[in-house]
């Protein structure tokens, strides 16, 4: 059975990765104490993260994500929400050596041209604000009309 890694950048069941994984993909959360220690997270941070995961009522495993996801996936694809976090990216990269890994990105707040100068926020904002200030439903309508 394929699995969806619900990692700490997307502790949710409402993400496009669930559409990609389909109804049979099993979401799991992995509690990695070593990573929390490495990040020096305080108790209150750990409690908040655990509460968010516990609230989803999905299995929580303790240990290394690569080892656990490898064992759970049983040769089926592993799905995950996209994240810039090097820890998550490294785990997904390690998994890709032996597994099919499908990373799914959430919609962005803003659509900007690829050549946008991101050296300072307001240069970014000037290119981003039109789409950032547009409701998702209007964006979806535009996409539908174009296709």
């Amino acid at each position: 059975m394929s699995v969806i890694w619900v990692h700490e950048d997307a502790i949710t069941l409402d993400h496009p990765v669930f559409q990609s994984g389909g109804p049979n993909a099993r979401p799991v959360f992995i509690w990695d104490t070593k990573e929390h220690d490495r990040q020096a997270y305080s108790l209150k941070r750990r409690v908040f993260i655990y509460e968010c995961a516990h609230d989803l009522d999905i299995p929580i495993y303790a240990g290394n994500p690569v080892e656990i996801l490898s064992a759970l996936s049983d040769g089926q694809p592993i799905y995950a929400a996209g994240s810039p976090d090097p820890y998550i990216q490294q785990a997904l990269s390690d998994l890709q050596q032996d597994h099919t890994v499908i990373v799914v990105e959430a919609p962005r707040l803003a659509q900007i041209p690829a050549d946008t100068d991101t050296g300072r926020f307001f240069r970014f904002w000037n290119r981003a604000k039109k789409s950032a200030l547009t409701h998702s439903s209007e964006t979806l309508t535009e996409v539908t009309q174009r296709s």
Binding site: W31, R45, Y50, E51, H54, P107
Partner: protein
């Protein structure tokens, strides 16, 4: 890669009260210091995020957000961990207000997206200064470690000690209070921004390396044109009645901007 034959879920079904959950997290975290006992009043979960979202008032946010008692949402811990998405929050703001009224709030969401894009582009450079300090000092002039009086909230500067206590007990600080602490740590105390950023990430429930570290760099001047500093008058202007901003208990922050500039950045000459 080592293989696990059949991992066992650790989920404790039936953990319904908060103390049991906290005990469970403690059991899972043997590396935590025995003195780390504080748990925030801010609870994780979808219902809690929805409650915050229901209280959103984008227009009021726009007019009061810089005030420590302003109509901020405290949605950031939930956004940080993806419990709710920035697009859902944006859509809610636009449902409640017209584009003009919601603009300031959505611009703050865009700051997060901006930091995230930079993080994607330079994921391993998040702990390095983007640019040199523009303070008249070199990196070697800044110490590597945070002094204990800061991490324990005993600086002797009443308003800052109050903010530190709030950080340690709630895991949340208003953005303006974050900037005050960052400015103080970098420019009054000459501590490297990385030490302050790491300390915030230990405690802030919404701590993510992109927003946090790049904001620290903005205050430090390694990702901005000039260092961020402030004076007591500014703290008093943006604080509610709960913050002690008396001169006698906050003396190092008192003075005009010109005076403080000369004191904090003596190598730069008079304030431009």
């Amino acid at each position: 890669m080592p293989k696990l034959s059949s991992p066992q879920a650790i989920t404790r079904l039936g953990v319904s009260d908060r103390q049991s959950l906290v005990d469970h997290v403690r059991d899972l975290s043997p590396g935590l210091s025995k003195s780390d006992l504080l748990v925030s009043d801010i609870e994780g979960g979808r219902a809690q995020a929805a409650e915050r979202l229901a209280g959103l008032d984008p227009a009021k946010y726009g007019s009061t957000r810089n005030h420590l008692d302003g109509a901020v949402t405290r949605l950031s811990p939930y956004i940080r961990h993806g419990v709710t998405s920035v697009t859902d929050v944006r859509d809610r703001a636009l449902d409640l207000s017209d584009t003009k009224s919601a603009g300031k709030f959505i611009q703050q969401l865009a700051w997060r997206e901006y930091w995230q894009r930079l993080y994607e582009e330079f994921p391993k450079a998040i702990w390095q200064s983007v640019e040199p300090y523009k303070t008249g000092f070199t990196p070697d002039d800044y110490q590597d470690e945070l002094p204990l009086d800061i991490t324990e909230g005993r600086t002797g500067i009443a308003c800052l000690d109050g903010f530190i206590t709030e950080l340690l007990t709630t895991g949340y600080l208003h953005n303006h209070a974050r900037l005050y602490l960052a400015g103080y740590i970098c420019h009054w105390r000459h501590v490297k921004w990385q030490a302050g950023a790491a300390w915030f990430l230990t405690h802030l429930l919404d701590g993510d390396p992109a927003s946090n570290n790049l904001s620290w760099q903005w205050a430090a001047s390694t990702f901005s044109h000039k260092p961020y500093y402030f004076n007591l008058e500014n703290v008093a202007r943006f604080s509610g009645d709960n913050v002690d901003t008396r001169i006698e208990t906050n003396a190092p922050l008192a003075g005009t901007y010109e005076d403080l500039y000369a004191r904090l950045f003596p190598n730069l000459g008079p304030k431009p």
